[in-house]
Amino acid sequence: MSKEEYRIVKGQVMVPYELALGRTWSEFYDYLKEEKIMGKKCGKCSRVLVPPRSFCPRCFEDMDEWVEVSQEGVVETWVYVNMPFFAQEIKIPFISAQIRLDGSDTGFIHQVAGIDLSDFDSVRETVKLGGRVKAVWSKEKKGNILDIAYFEPVK
């Protein structure tokens, strides 16, 4: 028997999950339904975090204060994705971006869209590091991160 004849067997594992959001993240998604982007402010270091956290990752203090942040922000970095990945919800091509919303102290990961994404060279002319973008809301709210449909460049 030659090496090429050794057999390969197909396999698959499928596991359903039920994941608890907990209080802080449940409330965050409730606010999204009202088209508000809310962060949590740390009483100790005063940082405003989006996504919010039940406790400050650096101070280890509970974070009780909700603060509304702006729906506009600055693109800190971005990537043009034109390769399909397993179980990807968003159709390619799309743009993943790290956005610093005004009034927050962290980069928020979402997508930049609302422009013609088919031609990369034209995308580069529109989407810039340091450029400003603003949130566009989904009409139907499902209680997930795509309740913000996308961020679009501010003209």
């Binding site: 390969i8 396999g11 970095t77 034109n82 390769m83 990945f85 179980a87 790290q98 997930n144 991160i145």
Partner: protein
Amino acid sequence: MGKAVAIIGTGQTKHGRRSDVCYPDLVKEAVSAALMDAGITLKDIDGVVLGTMPSMMEGVSSTHFYFAEAMGAVGKPVMKVETCGSTGQSIGHCGFFWVASGMADIVLVVGSEKMSEGDGQATMTTVFDPFFQRTFAAGAPGVFTMQSMEWMYRFKIPEEKGREAAAMISVSNHDNAMDNPYAHIRTRVTMDDVKNARVITYPVRLLDVCPASDGACAVVFASERTAKKICKKPAWIKGLGFRGEEFFYGESDKAIWMSATEAAKEAYQQAGIRNPMKQLDVAELYNPFTYQEMIFYECFGFCPRGEAPDYVLKGAFKKGGQLPCCPSGGTLCTNPIGATGLIRLAEAALQVTGKAGARQVEGAKLALSHAMGGVDQFNAVTILGSKL
């Protein structure tokens, strides 16, 4: 630092697409090679440490059960450690901790992956949180590209200059892999090949990105007394550092990258290294992406922030340069993820003991090895020396 610890043997499989063996047999291949290199048998081993990527990678959970026989772990204490890409360094650290504590005399450390059997990027996607960021993940390329773009923007590195330096890194890693009989990708590439390769996530192209490999690596750690008794040329562990960051991408500054910077700083302090560029003879960085390799140069103090492309273009990190990096061809040419960080350690051990064959850096006495894991979250560094 605990008691002195040495590496007395290393073993690697031939890496690549290894459909000729089942997964446990692949592990056995590396373990047998390491035992032979150390001149010991299974009886001499007091404990075994295993590391791999998450179970989704090959669809078998908790592989220290699956590999018990292949690692010679029957009747011995076994532990498994996972830190994603930095796993290989983390398990090396565990081997060190175990022997340095005095609780074991000889410890076998094994890292492995068989990436051809699953979907590596799908597995990486499950490392992202399920509620906020996973939706926008584009595997490892997406994250590393975002980081590289941020770094170039922060330090005002012109796109063409970054492109040129990254291409040079790809060419020299591919050249180096030609000298490494274990490497997965062994083909020469030109600057034009790299610059014209298919775009993966702009500006990152196919030849800026590592392959998905099958492979295993095993390393034998021993106490000072045993190392001196049974090993002619031990590689001594001079220092080690590990740092983690916050989980959510965007919360910490990846252009400066605290975890990489501080992990190296801690290892340098233990090893008495003040000027890494002068004192180190060779470095085996974890470089799955050409652009990211430059960020590591800066974090590890090889050059000032924002100047890595200048150093690369001057040839500082090439074979024969001021500080040769990845003479093995690096992660860029071979990436069986759970094994990769341990391969860096094994390659550093080969270098400081003069056993690296065609990829030997002449007279290397002090070497850095490194790995990075998660969504740019963890970094680990281990320094090896030829003298205790």
